[in-house]
Symmetry: C2
Subunit: 243 residues, 2 copies
């Protein structure tokens, strides 16, 4: 059995935690870019991307798992000169996706940063992990859908993450991938199972979003125990991230 | 019983690990600045210092422990425009020490960066956690002593870290504090105990140096079980770091 956690922040996890993930079959994980305080400088994110690509992948290897890097500007981590980050994203190599990008409060700056990242992703043919917030999830997700459609963003490059049933249904109808985040405050294992039973298993991926705070870094394994679905727990993510 | 780990990299530890430290009596720790790849940009270190001061202290509180920030340029993390970092160190507030600073290969650039940080520390009256390397420890430590003496650096602001018996003896003779790092590849609990028995307990502090790699984050607790010395495990560090 091999499992894929489509969204973690490996930086916030000790190498021993990563080893436990690997021991529980979680052999693949995408480590998404995030900075736990609002960075003052664009350069901080550039070095962060290098760290994810060069160093976190190595910690993964030590722990017996593949850690793939996702790079991008999280809506809560927009530095002043964020255009510099975009330029760096165009040049750097070694990542599998842009992420997590998306909207938190959906203010003007966030929308602008998201749009520019999506345009770049479309041009470079890069899969995108798109964050939806806890607060006003449905409204903000609608805003994201609107942006994606205006940009004629390729459906197969789009993963709407942290979905609940309502957001999942809409996203699937539009042809996007959907991320189910099993975490206290997001989905329980039971809720995730129910959503897959209701909407089918072709476009779901699963993740723990584990990182800097307390979190169940074995969430994907716990979901596997109940769901036993290889598409949701491995194959769909491999297809989406092309690994 | 309250213990003090004088040198960790809390960023590399999950909040659950920090909770375990707290449960084992480790209620105080200094989290030292380090970037696990060589940063390209000075700005990365500036945001890192902010992260240590603002965010890691908060993770500590959640875990029931005091995490104090040490800021500075580690010899393996010197960015191109390191003078910008020095300027930032002069302005930022909320840290207890400069660290870890020191020498790794003792090349010209490392020496220059160390000297400038020590000059600033002397001027601002800031305690310094000074790293000594695994390789050529005695020779590089001698180089550090020479720099400290030429600068007439105040003894009470100087902690020579990762000491072995030889380095400890010299450092104590010069009136410096000495850090005993209990970690695979550095000191065993038995070796640390022996060193304290040999040289007295007035100027030693203890640490795990735990962080991004595999490490025994309860090392200070394990040392306590054998040594039962409140000066080495708490009081000396409180005095040195003034907390």
């Amino acid at each position: 059995m091999e499992l894929f956690d489509s969204h973690i922040h490996s930086e916030g996890r000790s190498v021993e935690d990563l080893e436990k993930m690997s021991e529980h079959g979680i052999k693949h994980a995408v480590s998404c870019a995030f900075y736990p305080i609002k960075p003052l400088f664009a350069e901080t994110l550039m070095d962060l991307f290098r760290k994810l690509i060069e160093y976190e992948s190595g910690r993964g290897r030590k722990a017996g798992m593949n850690i793939y890097a996702a790079i991008g500007i999280h809506p809560r981590c927009i530095p002043r000169e964020w255009d510099k980050v975009l330029k760096f994203m165009e040049e750097v190599e070694g990542y599998v996706a842009f992420g997590e990008i998306g909207l938190e409060e959906a203010n003007k700056e966030e929308v602008e940063v998201l749009k520019d990242q999506l345009k770049l992703a479309k041009r470079l043919d890069v899969p995108c992990v798109i964050h939806t917030p806890r607060k006003n999830k449905a409204i903000v997700a609608d805003k994201i859908f609107e942006i994606l459609e205006r940009l004629e963003f390729p459906e197969e490059l789009c993963l709407i993450d942290h979905a609940n049933a309502e957001v999942a249904e809409k996203a699937l109808r539009k042809g996007y991938y959907v991320g189910l985040t099993v975490q206290p405050g997001k989905l329980s294992v039971e809720e995730a199972v129910e959503i897959v039973y209701e909407f089918g298993d072709e476009y779901f991926v699963a993740n723990s979003d584990s990182g800097f705070s307390e979190s169940d870094f074995l969430a994907v394994f716990n979901l596997w125990k109940e769901l036993k679905n290889e598409k949701v727990l491995l194959k769909n993510a491999k297809r989406f991230f092309r690994v």
